[in-house]
């Protein structure tokens, strides 16, 4: 403990300089208050520190359960040491750790954007920062899949080992005095118990895993990935990934949307949303046959899905296979559900087309 306290006087000067650089006003008041307080402050320093330290230990809570669990037993797929050295670095400008961190992750995922491009999509002037939900939204706006990880250190490191930089939110200060900060995890070393980040102005910040866990825990263990469509996070859950793909769909061309859904089907072949998603994406590209194949499979896997039958009916009608189309449309209507009105509409349209009434009305 004594060793730790030794550099305090020199650190005070350093702190002043730093404070003045960061915020001139706060810095000045800091100098004044230090001059006033100098005498008593140093006399009681050692007492104050020991009292303060024990108070702080009590206030902070010292447990880092995830790090302890990780260092004793971790996933077999977790390599002992990883560093993604090629991930680009953007030093953050003032208040811009969100855009800077996200730009690093987006670049790694193949989107050519700078922090300056992201600022208007992310930064909130009134809050001097960026919100988590907008980090996800801005990822989608730039054509990448945004995936929020489970609050597990193990999962975070598995994704890094799989080659993906992970954007994390940290509360660098204390729960009752938060200092929110985004950084990018690019590596770790289990033997040394360290994690490697691109953070603020530091291209390679090495932190003990325990310190990282403290800062990460205070931010609700929040972490996200930005992946090119077609790539599924190694730790993804079925529902989480498919929801992320649906949210991305409107921001990307339909070929890419098809790739994102097809990737889901590779891992979860029976997922209805992803199956219909591939069909809709193929249909949007004008490929009726490929769309039909997807919907056919969807009706086999999920014979109770009105949407699968409705969309199948439409593709069959497009091919003028009216008897089959009518059967599918009737089935869609009879199954009911939230989209029954749409199914009814499809059925009417097919009836009109198949009986040739449309020719007379022309």
């Amino acid at each position: 403990m004594i060793n730790l306290l030794m550099p305090v006087p020199s650190l005070l000067t350093l702190m002043e300089q730093l404070a003045i650089r960061l915020s001139p006003q706060a810095g000045k008041s800091l100098v004044i208050s230090r001059k006033r307080a100098r005498g008593t402050w140093f006399r009681c320093a050692s007492f104050r520190f020991s009292a303060g330290v024990s108070l702080l230990i009590w206030l902070c809570g010292c447990a880092t359960p995830q790090t302890q669990a990780l260092l004793t037993s971790h996933s077999a797929q977790l390599l002992p040491q990883v560093e993604l050295g090629e991930i680009p670095f953007y030093p953050q400008e003032i208040h811009q750790c969100g855009p800077a961190s996200l730009a690093m992750a987006l670049n790694a995922g193949g989107a050519k954007v700078t922090p300056q491009d992201l600022t208007p999509q992310l930064y909130l002037p009134g809050r001097d920062g960026s919100l988590q939900v907008e980090m996800l939204a801005a990822t989608r706006r730039n054509g990448l899949l945004a995936y929020e990880l489970a609050p597990q250190l193990d999962d975070l490191l598995v994704e890094v080992a799989a080659g993906s930089p992970v954007v994390v939110l940290q509360n660098l200060a204390l729960s009752w005095y938060p200092l929110w900060h985004y950084a990018v995890v690019v590596g770790y070393d289990l033997k040394r118990g360290e994690i490697i980040l691109r953070s603020g102005l530091e291209q390679r910040q090495v932190l003990p895993l325990t310190t990282f866990e403290h800062t990460w825990e205070r931010a609700g263990y929040w972490a996200m990935l930005a992946l090119p469509p077609g790539q599924v996070p190694r730790t993804a859950t079925e529902a989480g990934y498919v929801a992320a793909a649906v949210a991305l769909e409107k921001f990307i061309p339909s070929e890419k949307a098809e790739a994102a859904y097809a990737a889901a089907l590779e891992r979860w072949p029976r997922n209805l949303t992803a199956r219909i998603g591939t069909g809709n994406a193929a249909y949007a590209q004008g490929n009726v046959l490929r769309a039909e194949k997807s919907y056919q499979q969807a009706t086999l896997d999920h014979p109770d899905s009105p949407i699968a039958f409705n969309n199948l009916a439409q593709t069959l009608a497009d091919q003028q296979r009216y008897p089959e189309a009518l059967a599918a449309a009737n089935r869609a209507v009879s199954l009911g559900g939230t989209e029954q009105a749409a199914a009814q509409d499809t059925l009417e349209q097919i009836k009109i087309k198949s009986t040739g009434i449309w020719k007379e009305t022309e």
Binding site: L4, S23, L30, C97, A219
Partner: protein
């Protein structure tokens, strides 16, 4: 008379609100879009849809209150999913917003310095954590 007028107006509003909030993704008639598959699985009721729409309006206003201009706020809200909108609606000023270190008070500075050295926090780049 009055209540009938009100009822008509509210019906009209509901329809227009729904058509605004849930644009059709496919121009082709007859196709049900992929997001509907997900929402129908959750059997989202009309009431919830309207609530989501109103929440979206709230978030847009909150974004504008935080210094975003109208058009940008619209674009930013439309990029959020329904779940994300629900998460932040009404508490945008209290949600964590990652920024950086600025204007830390003197006392808190000392506190954070010590917690930094102890490895509970990581505010300052010049501290070396004791292991």
């Amino acid at each position: 008379m009055n209540s009938r007028f009100m009822r008509m107006t509210s019906r009209l509003l509901i329809v227009s609100v729904l058509s605004l909030g849930l644009p059709f993704q496919y121009a082709q008639a007859g196709m049900v879009s992929t997001d509907k598959v997900a929402t129908s699985a959750q059997s989202q009721s009309e009431r919830e849809r309207i609530r989501t729409f109103l929440d979206r309006e709230d978030v847009r206003k909150e974004l504008q209150a935080q210094g975003i201009d109208t058009d940008a706020a619209k674009a930013r809200v439309s990029a959020l999913t329904d779940e994300e909108v629900q998460k932040v609606a009404g508490k945008l000023d209290k949600m964590p917003a990652g920024g950086d270190i600025i204007g830390i008070l003197f006392t808190i500075f000392i506190v954070l310095l010590v917690t930094d050295i102890l490895g509970f926090t990581k505010v300052f780049s010049f501290t070396r954590t004791a292991k």
